[in-house]
């Protein structure tokens, strides 16, 4: 029973950690989206020309803001559920009985069932924002390289360089989150595949009476 309790603990803590990281990345994506969007909007306004790259960056920036807000609120919902499961787990005695541990399993299963479509969306969102931020990061790095080559070491070039590195890092972070969400979903899919057999056995037991 203690072994299964440790397994439970690891899963709850890992998913809690993953959700927290997800919130940080969502907030960063939102902040970077606002940053890129407004900066590029100012570039277009100041130059008075409609250039393709700044327009793409404005679009990407504001899409990231919308995605970030959605991401943040939905992750908070998942976090709330995980926090409740964690509270149930924390209330377990040192040596819990079978019913107490099974109660945690039931809560975890119910939580996953409820959030299954959302976790799928998180995986997709992570990949999409990963691609967008890596492209944005690369474009900023190219701009930074160009500015630094033409104008020498100037603040504008250095800030573009920093922005590009941060965007690329957030992009990689998004990919990693998508990877972990997929891994988490994979574990639960394996469990849910067992459900029809389990429900069949329980149905037979109930019908037997």
């Amino acid at each position: 029973m203690d072994e299964i309790k440790i397994k439970c603990k690891n899963e709850i803590r890992s998913f809690f950690g993953l959700t927290l990281i997800n919130i940080v990345v969502a907030a960063l994506i939102m902040a970077l989206g606002i940053g890129f969007g407004i900066t590029q909007l100012l570039v277009v306004i100041n130059s008075g020309e409609i250039l393709l790259t700044p327009l793409f960056l404005i679009g990407a920036g504001f899409t990231a803001v919308i995605a970030g807000v959605y991401w943040l609120t939905k992750t908070a919902e998942i976090l709330y559920g995980i926090d409740q499961i964690n509270s149930t787990y924390e209330q377990l005695p040192q040596h819990p009985n079978q019913d107490q541990v099974t109660n945690v399993f039931v809560e975890m299963l119910a939580h996953y069932r409820k959030n299954q479509p959302l976790i799928g969306t998180m995986t997709s969102l992570g990949r999409i924002s990963g691609v967008i931020f890596i492209i944005v990061g690369c474009l900023s790095l190219i701009y930074a390289g160009y500015t630094l080559l033409v104008s020498g070491i100037v603040i504008e070039g250095l800030s573009q360089l920093a922005g590009g590195i941060i965007a690329a890092c957030v992009g990689i972070g998004s990919f990693l989150i998508a990877k972990y969400f997929k891994s988490y979903a994979g574990v639960w899919e394996t469990r849910l595949q067992m459900e029809p057999t389990i429900q069949d056995a329980l149905k037979k037991q109930l019908e037997g009476n």
């Binding site: 690891n10 899963e11 890992s14 399993f105 039931v106 809560e107 469990r191 056995a201 109930l206």
Partner: protein, 91 residues
């Protein structure tokens, strides 16, 4: 918030909760059910002789019967197996 539970899980929760006599109100509060659904589940379990209605001094309570033990044991075994057989998730 209890997530999305199956009827079998709700039956199990009610039965485990009612090892000691419990009122209908405490059952629906503990299992996060509305009155109508709670009544359906309690009625189903009572019909199966898994729950026994006790009336003492006008106070109605439900208690899990020995007959329910088989269902509870099977449920616990199957759910344990579900977590035993699957890979654990670690960040």
């Amino acid at each position: 918030m209890k997530g999305r539970r199956t009827n079998y899980e709700i039956y199990w929760e009610i039965l485990v909760f009612c090892w000691k006599p419990k009122t209908f109100t405490s059952i629906i509060n503990r299992c996060d059910l509305n009155s109508k659904i709670g009544q359906e589940h309690v009625h189903f379990l009572t019909e199966k002789n898994y729950l026994l209605l006790q009336i003492q001094d006008d106070k109605k309570t439900y208690i899990t019967t020995e007959q329910a033990q088989e269902y509870i044991t099977l449920f616990t075994q199957l759910y344990r197996k579900m977590f035993d057989n699957s890979p654990s998730f670690k960040l």
